[in-house]
C-alpha cells in the first residue's frame, strides 16, 4: 500500500497523523486504531515521515512546478489545471481498451506519479486504471445529445486530483453497439505535447495486441539529470544570458481586453482551429525549408505577425515550450512524461521587413534561446516577479512538429477526434501546432471571457488568412498583408459611404440671402437686446467695406480681439463679406500670447469691442465696433472678390502647440458650408429654431452656432451665464471626445422628447466630422461611442503605417473628406506631417492624434490622445507647451502635466522635479505661468517628486503620474508614514513564513524571495493567511507585501476594512 493510500485509509477512519522530529503522532478515535493499522504505519514510517514533512518523492521540473502552482485559486488566471480533453468517435472493446491503457500506465513511470501540495512528485509502483462506461443507448436522441453536452461541459475543464494517479482518465459513452465516444483527459503534470502523441500511439498498439517495448525510462533519472545540470557550465552561461536580458525584455502582447484578468476566477477555454491540407502544408514547408526557415520559426513568426495586427505592439515577448530530452537513457525518445520546459522569445515586427526577414530574426532568437535552455523560462519569469517588473507571459506557442516517428495523427488512431480543448494556468491564449495526416493543424485555445466579442474569432481567422497568404506566396513579400475580416471591411465601407452633393455658394451669400428674405427676423438675441437680420447685415456690410478699403483680400486674416458679445458675430460676418478670414482672439488672453497670434497671423486689421485695447503689434489698424447703427443706413452691396471660391479660408483658429507655440488651423468656407448643410438637413433646422451660443468664439463649435443659425434664418441666443435651459429645447448637440456616459440619460429624464446627439472632431476636421445619435443603449452603462462620419467625411482607425486595424484594436483615428482643414497657418512642415495623401486610398488624410478603435457595429470609440495633447474641461492642451513653460521656471528641473479626475471634474496637474531645494506652492507657480498662458492651460494642482517616474524605455511614465495624489497647496513628496501593525500580528505571520520556508527565524524586514521563497511557497503562505486572518491577498501582489512587516500592515488594513484589501 502506498503512502497516499495509507493516508486515505486514515482519513476514512477519522484519524489524523502528523510528523514531528522524525516521529509520528496518530490522533482520533481509539476504536479506529487497530493493531494491523499500527503495524502498517510502523512499516511505512520512513516514507510517511518523508511524505508528511514534504521531503518524499522527487522534485518537480520547472514546468511541473508552474502547473501545480497554477492550480491555486490565488493565481491570476489560475484555478485551472494544465489539461487536455479529447472526444474520439468509434467503437471499441472497452475491456480491451482498459487493459491496454493499464499496460501503458504500467510501462511509463511518469504516468504513475502523484503530487503533493508541497511540490513533490511520488512515482508509484502501480496506478489502477478504470474506464467508466456511460450507456446512453436507452436515451432518446435529444436527451443523448444533452447528456453528451453536459458531460463535455463538466469534463472538458476538469482538474484531476493530484493525489490519485494516474492523472489520465478515460470514459466511454455508448451511443449504439457500433457508435461510441471515447472521452480522454490528461494533465500536463504528466504529459507534454510529444508525450500526448506517444501515449495514444502506445495505447493503440497495446489495444491492437502489439506487445509494448520494455519498461519506459524512470522519470526520476530525468529529474536527477536536471538537478545535476544546474551545476554545469551551460547552466551558468544560460543564467547569465537571461539575467542580462531581463531589464530590456519586451513586454507581453498588449491585445485588447474586455475585462481584467484578475476578474476571471474560473477560466474557460474555447478552441479554434487553423488548418492547411497536406498538399498546401507540404508546399509551404518546402518553401520555408528552401529559405532556411524551420517549421516552428515559420509558424511562430506568422502567429506573432497576427498578434501584432491585433494590437500586440511592435515588440513583445511570447512564451514557448520546447521538448527537452537529453540523451540520458536509451528510451528517452519514447518516454511518456513531462519533458518540456518554458522559453521566452522576444519578437519584433519591423514595419518594413518582409516575412522571410522576420522569420529569420525569430529563428535566430529561438536558437539563441535554445542554446541557453539550461535556465528555465519559469525561472526567468520568477526573477522578473522578484524585480517587480511583471511576470506575465500569457501568450504561449507550442510546436510539436518534427519529432521523429510520431505526430498528431496518433490522436486519431482510435477514430476521428470530434472535439478537443486544452487549458493552461496563467495562460490567456495558447497555440499548439502539429502535423496530422500530412497536413497542418494549429489549435488555438483562449479564454473568451478575457477578450471583446468576436476578437478571438477574427484573430484566428487572420492567422489562417496569413498562412493561406504564405501558401499563395504574396504574404512573403508584403510586410503587412491584409488580415482584416471581410465583414469588418464591409461595415467600414458602409459607414464611410457619406457622399452628398453640395452647392457652391459662399458663406456670405447664404447669410445675405437670408437677411434679404427676412430682414426683420431676429438674428442675434442677447440679454436685453435683439439684433435683426437686417441690422446684422447693415452693420456687417459697413465694416466689410472698411476692410475692403484696406484691401483685405482672400485668405487674409482679420483679427477679432473681443470679449463675449454680439459684436463677435457682426465681426465674423463682416470678415467673410469682405472676402477675408477671421482670427478670433480672446481679449482676456495674456498680452504676449495675443500679440504672438496677431503677429504670426500677419494681421493688419483688428475689429474689437474692447475700449482702449493696447499691446497690439505695430502697424495694426483697429476698428472699434459701434454699439448700434442708424436703421436708415442701407447695407453696402459688396460683390465677391475676384476669383473668390469656397476653397478660400473662412477662419484660422489657434490651438495649443507641442513646441511651446500655438498653431493656427486654416479652415475653408467649403468645409464650413459642408458641415452646416449636413446638420441643417440631419436635424431639420429652420427659421423657427434658436441656437444657444454657449461656446467661446475661439472654440470652433461657435462656428456652427453662427453659420448654422444665420444660413437657415434661425437666431443665435447668447445666454447669460446664469440662465438655465429654455423650455422649448428640442435638440442638444453634445460635443467633446468623451461624453460622460450618464449625462444623456439624466437629460432625458428631465425632458424625455429631447433629441441628443454626440458630435466630435478636432479643429482640423471642421467643427465635427463624426457623430453618434444618442439611443436607448446609451443609458449610462457604456461609454458613448464617438460614432460615424457625417456627410462627405470619412474616418479610419489606422496603425503607424496607415493600415486598417481590426475591430477593438486601438490605433490612430484618421479623417478624410471635405471637412479636412487646409493645413496650419505658415507652417508647411507641420501641415505635411499631419495632412498626407494616402496612396493606398488615393485621398488626403489627417492624422488626428486621437486614439480610437472600431466597434463591431461600425461605430468608432475614442480613447485618448496618441501624443500628449490632452483635453481638460473641453480645452485641448498640448502638454508640451505647458511643460515648456514650467521647465522655464527657475525652480523646476523636470515637468510633466497630466489630466486627472478631480472632485469638480477634470483638472490639469503638474508633476515637477525641483532644480534646487525650493519647492514653491501652486499659487506661486500659477502666478508665474499666467504671464504666458491662458487660464485653462494653467495647472490647478502640483505634485513634487524627487525625480519623475520613468518607464522601462526611459520616458516619463505618464500613466503612473495620473494615479499620483496631487496636492492643491504646497506639496513635498516624502516617504509615507509606516503603518501601525498590531502587536502579535507580525509575529504570527513570521511563524507562518518560518513553517512554509522551513527556516528557524524570519526577520520582519527581509524580503520573501531572499529567504528562499518561491512561487509555490508564496501560494502556501497566502493560503495560510487567508485561513488564519480571513484576508485574501492575490499572488500577483506578493511583491507589495514581500516582508513580514509589509504583509502585516496589509492584513491589519484589510481587517479594518473587512476582507480583501
Amino acid at each position: 500500500m502506498s503512502v497516499v493510500e495509507l493516508l486515505r485509509d486514515l482519513s476514512a477512519r477519522g484519524l489524523t497523523i502528523t510528523a514531528t522530529g522524525g516521529d509520528l503522532r496518530l490522533q482520533g478515535p481509539t476504536e479506529a486504531m487497530d493493531a494491523e493499522l499500527v503495524a502498517r504505519l510502523r512499516a511505512a514510517k520512513p516514507d510517511l515521515v518523508a511524505h508528511l514533512t514534504g521531503q518524499a518523492g522527487l522534485a518537480l521540473t520547472p514546468l511541473q512546478g508552474a502547473y501545480l502552482y497554477g492550480r491555486g485559486e490565488l493565481v491570476e488566471l489560475g484555478n485551472v489545471a494544465s489539461h487536455v480533453y479529447h472526444e474520439i468517435e468509434g467503437a471499441w472493446d472497452v475491456d480491451r481498451l482498459e487493459r491496454a491503457l493499464q499496460s501503458v500506465v504500467d510501462r511509463h513511470p511518469a504516468l504513475r506519479a502523484s503530487f503533493t501540495a508541497e511540490g513533490r512528485q511520488v512515482i508509484h509502483d502501480h496506478a489502477a486504471v478504470h474506464i467508466r462506461v456511460r450507456d446512453l443507448r436507452s436515451l432518446p436522441g435529444r436527451a443523448r445529445q444533452d447528456s453528451l453536452a453536459a458531460y463535455r461541459h463538466r469534463c472538458s475543464h476538469r482538474m484531476l486530483p493530484i493525489d490519485r494517479p494516474p492523472l489520465v482518465r478515460a470514459e466511454v459513452s455508448v451511443l449504439a453497439e457500433d457508435r461510441m465516444v471515447l472521452h480522454v483527459s490528461h494533465d500536463g503534470l504528466v504529459l507534454d505535447g510529444i508525450s500526448m502523441f506517444l501515449f495514444f500511439r502506445d495505447w493503440w498498439r497495446a489495444y491492437a495486441g502489439e506487445p509494448l517495448d520494455e519498461a519506459g525510462m524512470p522519470f526520476g533519472e530525468y529529474v536527477a539529470e536536471l538537478a545535476r545540470a544546474r551545476d554545469r557550465a551551460p547552466a551558468q552561461r544560460s543564467q547569465r544570458y537571461w539575467l542580462d536580458r531581463l531589464d530590456d525584455l519586451a513586454p507581453m502582447p498588449d491585445l485588447p481586453l474586455a475585462t481584467s484578468p484578475s476578474a476571471v476566477t474560473r477560466p474557460r477555454f474555447t478552441q479554434r482551429l487553423v488548418r492547411l491540407d497536406a498538399q498546401r502544408w507540404g508546399e509551404l514547408r518546402r518553401r520555408a525549408t528552401g529559405a532556411g526557415i524551420t517549421a516552428p520559426a515559420l509558424l511562430l513568426t506568422a502567429y506573432a505577425q497576427t498578434l501584432h495586427r491585433w494590437g500586440a505592439g511592435d515588440r513583445f515577448t511570447l512564451n514557448t515550450t520546447f521538448a527537452h530530452r537529453p540523451p540520458i537513457h536509451p528510451r528517452i525518445a519514447e518516454a511518456v512524461g513531462q519533458f518540456s520546459d518554458v522559453m521566452l522569445v522576444e519578437v519584433a515586427v519591423e514595419a518594413d521587413a518582409g516575412f522571410e526577414q522576420r522569420a529569420r530574426a525569430v529563428q535566430a532568437r529561438l536558437h539563441r534561446g535554445i542554446e541557453n535552455r539550461h535556465f528555465s523560462g519559469v525561472e526567468v519569469l520568477r526573477e522578473l516577479g522578484r524585480r517587480g517588473s511583471g511576470a506575465r507571459a500569457p501568450y504561449t506557442f507550442n510546436c510539436a512538429i518534427g519529432y521523429p516517428g510520431v505526430d498528431g495523427s496518433a490522436l486519431e488512431l482510435f477514430g476521428r477526434e470530434t472535439y478537443t480543448v486544452s487549458q493552461t494556468p496563467q495562460v490567456w491564449l495558447n497555440v499548439f501546432a502539429m502535423e496530422q495526416h500530412g497536413g497542418l493543424v494549429v489549435q488555438v485555445d483562449g479564454v473568451d471571457e478575457l477578450y471583446p466579442d468576436g476578437l478571438l474569432d477574427a484573430l484566428v481567422t487572420g492567422y489562417q488568412r496569413l498562412l493561406d497568404g504564405l501558401c499563395g506566396g504574396e504574404a512573403w513579400t508584403d510586410p503587412a498583408p491584409d488580415l482584416l475580416p471581410p465583414a469588418q471591411r464591409q461595415r467600414r465601407a458602409a459607414a464611410n459611404d457619406t457622399s452628398v452633393p453640395r452647392s457652391d455658394r459662399l458663406l456670405a451669400d447664404l447669410v445675405v440671402a437670408r437677411a434679404r428674405r427676412q430682414p426683420a427676423a431676429p438674428a442675434v438675441i442677447a440679454s436685453g437686446a435683439t439684433m435683426s437680420y437686417g441690422e446684422l447685415h447693415r452693420r456687417a456690410s459697413h465694416i466689410a467695406a472698411w476692410l475692403r478699403q484696406r484691401a483685405v483680400g482672400r485668405d487674409e486674416l482679420v483679427g477679432l480681439v473681443m470679449t463675449r458679445g454680439p459684436e463677435q458675430i457682426v465681426g465674423i460676418l463682416a470678415t467673410v463679406l469682405a472676402g477675408g478670414a477671421y482670427l478670433p482672439v480672446d481679449a482676456a488672453l495674456p498680452a504676449a500670447r495675443r500679440e504672438y497670434m496677431l503677429r504670426d497671423g500677419k494681421v493688419r486689421c483688428v475689429l474689437t469691442n474692447v475700449d482702449g485695447l493696447d499691446g497690439l503689434p505695430d502697424g495694426v489698424e483697429v476698428l472699434p465696433l459701434p454699439g448700434g447703427t442708424d436703421p436708415a443706413v442701407e447695407p453696402v452691396d459688396l460683390a465677391p472678390l475676384p476669383g473668390a471660391t469656397l476653397d478660400d479660408l473662412a477662419y484660422v483658429l489657434y490651438t495649443s502647440g507641442t513646441t511651446g507655440s500655438p498653431k493656427g488651423v486654416m479652415v475653408s468656407q467649403r468645409s464650413v458650408a459642408n458641415v452646416v448643410a449636413d446638420c441643417t438637413a440631419r436635424f431639420g433646422i429652420d427659421a423657427t429654431d434658436r441656437f444657444f451660443g454657449i461656446s467661446a468664439f475661439n472654440f470652433d463649435l461657435s462656428v456652427y452656432d453662427v453659420f448654422g443659425a444665420l444660413t437657415t434664418g434661425a437666431a443665435i441666443v447668447l445666454p447669460d451665464a446664469d440662465r438655465s435651459a429654455d423650455p422649448a429645447l428640442r435638440l442638444v448637440m453634445m460635443s467633446g471626445d468623451r461624453i460622460p456616459p450618464a449625462l444623456p440619460s439624466q437629460l432625458l429624464r428631465v425632458k424625455p422628447d429631447l433629441e441628443i446627439v454626440s458630435l466630435g472632431g478636432p479643429t482640423e476636421t471642421t467643427i465635427w466630422n463624426i457623430l453618434h445619435p444618442i439611443e436607448a443603449a446609451d443609458d449610462g452603462s457604456r461609454s458613448i461611442p464617438y460614432g460615424r462620419p457625417n456627410a462627405n467625411n470619412r474616418a479610419y482607425v489606422l496603425d503607424a503605417a496607415g493600415r486598417d486595424l481590426p475591430d477593438w484594436v486601438v490605433g490612430e483615428i484618421c479623417a478624410a473628406g471635405v471637412g479636412l482643414a487646409r493645413g496650419y497657418w505658415g507652417d508647411p512642415a507641420r501641415t505635411d506631417e499631419r495632412f498626407r495623401t494616402d496612396e493606398r486610398r488615393g485621398e488626403r488624410l489627417y492624422r488626428t492624434g486621437d486614439l480610437g478603435r472600431y466597434l463591431p457595429d461600425g461605430d468608432i470609440e475614442i480613447l485618448g490622445r496618441s501624443d500628449f495633447q490632452i483635453k481638460v474641461n473641453g480645452y485641448r492642451i498640448e502638454a508640451g507647451e505647458v511643460e515648456t513653460r514650467l521647465v522655464g521656471l527657475d525652480m523646476v528641473k523636470q515637468a510633466a502635466v497630466v489630466r486627472q479626475d478631480g472632485a469638480r471634474g477634470d483638472r490639469l496637474v503638474a508633476h515637477l522635479a525641483a532644480a534646487g531645494d525650493a519647492r514653491p506652492g501652486i499659487e506661486e507657480i500659477r502666478a508665474q505661468l499666467r504671464v504666458h498662458l491662458p487660464d485653462y492651460m494653467i495647472p490647478s494642482a502640483v505634485v513634487w517628486h524627487d525625480a519623475l517616474p520613468l518607464t522601462r524605455n526611459g520616458k516619463v511614465d505618464r500613466t503612473a503620474l495620473t494615479t499620483a495624489t496631487p496636492a492643491s497647496g504646497p506639496a513635498a513628496a516624502g516617504p509615507a508614514p509606516a503603518p501601525a501593525v498590531p502587536d502579535g500580528l507580525a509575529g504570527q505571520l513570521a511563524a507562518v513564513w518560518a513553517t512554509v520556508l522551513r527556516v528557524g527565524d524570519v526577520p520582519h524586514d527581509v524580503a520573501f524571495h531572499d529567504l528562499g521563497g518561491d512561487s509555490l511557497a508564496a501560494a502556501r503562505v497566502l493560503a495560510e493567511v487567508r485561513k488564519l486572518f480571513r484576508v485574501t491577498i492575490p499572488l500577483d501582489q506578493l511583491y507589495e507585501v514581500r516582508t513580514v512587516r509589509a504583509m502585516a500592515a496589509r492584513v491589519a488594513a484589510a481587517q479594518t476594512t473587512g476582507g480583501t484589501p
Binding site: T289, T294, H324, P327, H367, E371
Partner: protein, 69 residues
C-alpha cells in the same frame, strides 16, 4: 544524419544544411548532445541548423583538435 534524426528527406549531400533537410531545433538539440558525447565538442544550435554538413564536419574537426591540443 537523415537516418539518425529520422528526417523525411533523401540521403543528405555534403552541401545540405540541416534546415534544408526539414530539421528543426528539436533535431539540432539531439544532434548537439550526440556530437558532444562522441567528440567533446559543443556546436551551437544556430551552426547545427544553418551550416552545411561539410562545414559542420570541418567545424567539429577543428574544435576537437583544439580540445585535444
Amino acid at each position: 544524419m537523415t537516418a539518425t534524426l529520422q528526417l523525411d528527406a533523401e540521403p543528405a549531400g555534403d552541401n545540405a544544411t540541416l534546415v534544408s533537410l526539414g530539421a528543426a531545433s528539436l533535431h539540432a538539440v539531439t544532434l548537439q548532445y550526440q556530437i558532444l558525447e562522441h567528440t567533446g565538442v559543443e556546436v551551437p544550435v544556430e551552426d547545427l541548423l544553418g551550416s552545411t554538413i561539410a562545414e559542420l564536419a570541418t567545424m567539429v574537426g577543428q574544435r576537437a583538435e583544439v580540445a585535444l591540443a
